[in-house]
Amino acid sequence: MIPSAFDYAAPTTVEEALALLAGADASGDDVKLLAGGQSLIPVMKLRLADPSLVVDLGRIPGLSGITDNGSSLTIGAMTPHHVMATDPLIAAHVPLLSQAAATVADPQVRHRGTFGGALVHADPAGDMPAPALAMDAVFNITGPAGPRSVEAAGFFQGYFTTAVEEGEILTSITVPKFDGWGSHYEKFTRVAQQWSIVAVAALVRVEGGVIAEARLGLTNMASTPLRASATEAALAGCAVDAEAIAAACAHAAEGTDPASDLNGDAAYRRHLATVVARRAVLAAVGLQGTRG
């Protein structure tokens, strides 16, 4: 468990970091950005990645923390999962993120691992991408050409691949407030501390006893997080009723392309998606007895 030799840089400004990335790009060096290191360091130790330069973002002030913009929150990319799980602003306005962050790995990982790092890493089984997608988060990226923003729908592009190009840094994520919505992140695992086998991030707005709008993000049902569009459509206008919700969630696996692995084959994951989606929605609307 010894990584290959690499150079290490710890810039103190974003500009300095961008310059390091540009320099590495020019000399053809393989460079990796280090956020919390909870995925990067293990793959380096296993020699599955052997960057020649590691740029540590941990000493740049201003990349961490939560800002209230009125109708939205802007979350620094380096904000640790532990903060995501416990911050009062997050809990008040986007509790889905607290709920998802609290399920990430174990306390040690949650204290080191970051929201932005998990999003850019884009592991299909990671817990933060699906909620970000369900919320239509906006990803604030900066690079040689200056800052730009990418909508969630265009951010996750493939297996471990996002819209963040080489030479760019994800600096923050802006999420709209979901005041008045119910939310729940339902994660299915074999043991408590495990990557999601399947998980569903649910946001549900109920008006007059009827589901007015629902947003569902699916974790690990394809190479990227997905929206359960068919279920979202079926839930709109649906009564807050277990049977009706179950019927809508039977569509949760439509359009998905899950992998087969030691935790289950694709058929099992498709089935799980319907069950986990139903449980997520039932919890989001506050219906008890979700497990018959």
């Binding site: 468990m1 010894i2 290959s4 030799a5 296993l46 020699r47 299915f188 074999r190 043991v191 408590a192 501390q193 495990q194 990557w195 086998i197 692995d261 030691l262 935790n263 289950g264 084959d265 099992y268 089935h271 799980l272 069950v275 986990v276 497990r291 018959g292």
Partner: protein
């Protein structure tokens, strides 16, 4: 129904035995003031990295070393050819049959590799990082050969695991009760049975996954070669190194410093130990090799991996008439130290606590292109217990009988001990009725059966099942004679010394060295009691062949029942020696002395002398009786006359989510009878850890390979080991029927939880969904497997 043992010794009540002392070794172990092998840093020490085959079966055609040898910090790069003259063949100490077949087993492969991860070259460098970097520069050419990964396929010999062998079959070992004279003919018994249930059960391959990866440091400087190793078996290792490498045993010193777990996984003579020794000898400098976690999972020996073809016969009243066991046991690619004997250890346990008259056991030891299997917590006995307890549940289902009722009809009653079993053992004591009654009460068996019925009737999503496992095991390995009869190379005795220091402090030297079990505490309790010295004044030394010259090490729940007895016997010899001197000092007759609470008293007087006074008198030796040497130190070797037979009843209430296949342990009760207990807290810890490991086999762990022979579950992401949140709050209790095979009455507890819990869990899972048409699920019972089993049952009309 508990009974208590008579006082274990003559000097009155036992203040220490039975006391939950905090473990004296824990302060250093949990604060890092410890000495694990990888902590060793010796002057001029070099580091090794292994180059391992990525192929499960291949011929080595060329190894290019130039680039690696030229890399910074590299001292040497060695291949199997370089070491051919000195590395020998790794030892197998248990040839189970005279015609057992085994391939040569060089530490570094020379011509052919037979599993992925086999070592093909070794880099020796200034630092571990330099060695690792250079290992990547070794360029090996292979010609791939066909691989055989599946045990049942290997049995057909369609593909051979080794080109040097004509068959994948290593040995066939048979026990037949009619031939052995311990029972009747199985064929006749099954033919005459009202019911015969036939099942094929699978023991998945498991990885011991001890906390401290294996590590070896060898110091060749000085008159002896000193090896530090994270091993369970410093003494056996020393003998085996001498025999394998032709080094005089007296020129070898092996030290097992603090060792972080083993579970049988460190009961081995490893290629890495051989290689590190040879490298150090060649370089004339200390060398270290510490495996990575990936290497530990990939090539540390594995456990279980058997196919169990079972037939059980019974009358319609539920009296078992006989059992036939036909095993395929996966050796992996080579025979390790006791690989071949592991399934044979199970042969004596398939009859378990039952008294049926006919039994036949046949085991075929088979080679595959996987790492070799060997001892893993329970070693043969968990497999046996799983199979018989699963079969008892299948039989109960067939007969429409409560599984506990069926067991009670067949078990040995407590009035029937000692009992000669159909497998040829003599069980000394036991009380299965008492343990079961206690477990049933703690579990609320009837209440949970009612709840199960309620959920079934309601068609609840979460169904409830009750898993039963009544077990016994043979512990205290082992009577040397029995091991001899089984062709095992070594004996089963254990050795101890008790050394008395001038101040009256006592050093206890044990040949059974701990790797997490708490010997330092337990042995201190034993000796404090026996000699009447304070617990704190006893120091336990172990794990260094120069300190503890004789020993057979730690495995098979043997430490207390064998090693502990040697300690007590040595302490008794100290008392005998001290008595002579005490009589002399007090000018009294030995016959008139009593030894109580650490002092000799002249009976009927106030005259007494303390143990520490005698110790100092012996040290000064100013006033010794004529002809008596000034030395209280004593040693003893204990060879048990029989195994010990812990037993117990385990009950598991299992919830199965029929929508997802998710399984949860709702309630777990175990009542273990492990005889007399020295330290209840240590016992509780052993039971909890054992349960976790057994439950984990049932639900979580499996070494999975792809068709090419690559370990897919090669990290803890995929080789699932549960954490504290995944395991239930255990309800544990004990009954106590003292063993008669040792003076303390202890039976051993290291493996009990592991052996008993696996079938309890699987029986419980099946009991929860059997009414839905599911009759079997392979371990581990993952949610995916449970769900697929439910779907299959539904599609074949098994569902109500």
């Amino acid at each position: 129904m508990s009974t208590t043992t008579e006082s274990a010794h003559s000097s009155g009540p036992s203040p220490e035995i039975g006391k939950s002392r905090l473990r004296k070794e824990d302060a250093r172990l949990i604060t890092g003031r410890s000495r694990y092998t990888d902590n060793m840093v010796l002057p001029g020490m070099l580091h090794l990295a292994m180059v391992r085959s990525p192929y499960a079966h291949a011929r080595i055609t060329n190894i290019e070393l130039t680039e690696a040898k030229a890399a910074p910090g590299v001292f040497a790069v060695l291949t199997g050819t370089d070491l051919a003259a000195e590395q020998g063949s790794l030892p197998n100490a248990w040839p189970v049959t005279p015609d057992q077949k085994a391939p040569a087993h060089p530490a570094v492969a020379i011509e052919e590799v037979a599993f992925a991860g086999e070592i093909v070259a070794v880099v020796i460098a200034r630092s571990a990082a330099a060695a690792r970097d250079a290992a990547e520069l070794v360029d090996v050419d292979y010609d791939e050969l066909p691989v055989v990964m599946d045990l049942e396929e290997a049995f057909t010999d369609a593909v051979l695991a080794h080109t040097s062998l004509e068959s994948n079959k290593s040995a066939t070992w048979v026990f037949d009760s009619a031939e052995a004279g311990t029972g009747t003919s199985i064929e006749d018994a099954l033919a005459a049975s009202d019911v015969v249930v036939e099942r094929t059960l699978y023991q998945q391959r498991l990885i011991p996954a001890f906390m401290e990866p294996r590590s070896t440091v060898v110091d060749p400087t000085g008159e002896q070669i000193t090896m530090y190793s994270a091993t369970q078996i410093p003494h056996i290792l020393r003998v085996m190194l001498a025999l394998t490498l032709g080094i005089p045993e007296s020129k070898l010193r092996v030290i097992a410093p603090d060792v972080g777990g083993g579970f049988g996984g460190k009961l081995q003579v490893t290629p890495e130990e051989i290689i590190t020794l040879l490298a150090a000898r060649r370089m004339g400098k200390p060398c270290k090799f510490t495996e990575t976690r990936s290497e530990s999972l990939q090539v540390g020996h594995h456990g279980r991996a058997q196919v169990q073809r079972m037939k059980i016969g019974a009358t319609k009243e539920g009296i078992v008439t006989g059992l036939s066991v036909n095993l395929l046991a996966d050796m992996g690619a080579y025979l390790g130290l006791i690989t071949s004997g592991i399934p044979i250890l199970g042969a004596f346990m398939y009859n378990s606590i039952y008294k049926f008259p006919a039994y036949r056991f046949e085991c075929n030891n088979i080679f595959t292109n996987k790492p070799w299997t060997d001892a893993y917590r329970g070693a043969g006995r968990p497999e046996a217990t799983f199979a018989i307890e699963r079969m008892m549940d299948e039989l109960a289902t067939e007969l429409n009988m409560d599984p506990l009722v069926l067991r009670e009809k067949n078990w040995i009653k407590h009035t029937e001990f000692p009992f000669a079993t159909v497998a040829g053992l003599e069980y000394d004591t036991g009380n299965y009725e008492a343990a079961t009654a206690k477990a049933v009460a703690l579990f609320d068996y009837d209440g949970l059966r009612a709840e199960q019925k309620r959920r079934r009737d309601a068609g609840a999503t979460i169904q409830l099942g009750i898993g039963v496992s009544t077990f016994t095991e043979m512990c205290g390995l082992a009577p040397s004679r029995v091991l001899g009869a089984l062709n095992y190379a070594a004996g089963g005795w254990e050795h101890a010394q008790v050394r008395v220091l001038p101040t009256g402090n006592v050093e206890v030297v044990t040949g059974s060295s701990a790797h997490g079990q708490g010997h330092e505490t337990a042995w201190s309790q034993l000796v404090a009691d026996r000699l009447g010295v304070p617990f704190e004044n006893v120091e336990v030394l172990h794990g260094d062949t120069q300190v503890s010259q004789r020993g057979l090490d730690t495995y098979g729940s043997r430490s207390l029942t064998v090693g502990g007895m040697a300690v007590l016997a040595a302490a008794d010899k100290v008392i005998e020696k001290a008595k002579v001197i005490a009589a002399h000092l007090m000018e009294a007759s030995e016959e008139d002395l009593d030894f109580t609470n650490g002092a000799f008293t002249v009976r009927g007087t106030d005259t007494s002398t303390s143990f520490s006074e005698i110790a100092f008198a012996v040290f000064s030796a100013h006033n010794m009786p004529d002809g008596v040497e000034p030395n209280l130190d004593s040693e003893a070797t204990f060879d048990p006359v029989n195994f010990s037979y812990p037993h117990g009843t385990h009950l598991a209430a299992m919830e199965v989510d029929t929508e997802t296949g998710q399984v949860k342990v709702l309630k777990y009760v175990c009542v273990d009878d492990i005889g007399v207990v020295v330290n209840p807290m240590i016992v509780e810890g052993q039971v909890h850890g054992g349960l976790a490991q057994g439950i984990s086999q049932a639900l979580y762990e499996e070494a999975v390979y792809d068709d090419a022979g690559t370990l897919v579950s090669g990290s803890f992401v995929d080789y699932l080991v549960p954490g504290a949140p995944d395991l239930p709050h255990y309800i544990t209790a004990r009954t106590e029927t003292p063993a008669t095979s040792n003076q303390l009455g202890a039976k051993g507890v290291g493996e009990a939880g592991t052996i008993a819990s696996t079938p309890a869990i699987v029986n419980g899972v099946l009991d929860a969904i059997r009414h839905l048409g599911v009759t079997d699920i392979k371990m581990p019972c993952t949610p995916s497997r449970v769900w697929h089993a439910l779907q299959e049952a539904k599609s074949t009309g098994g569902v109500q």
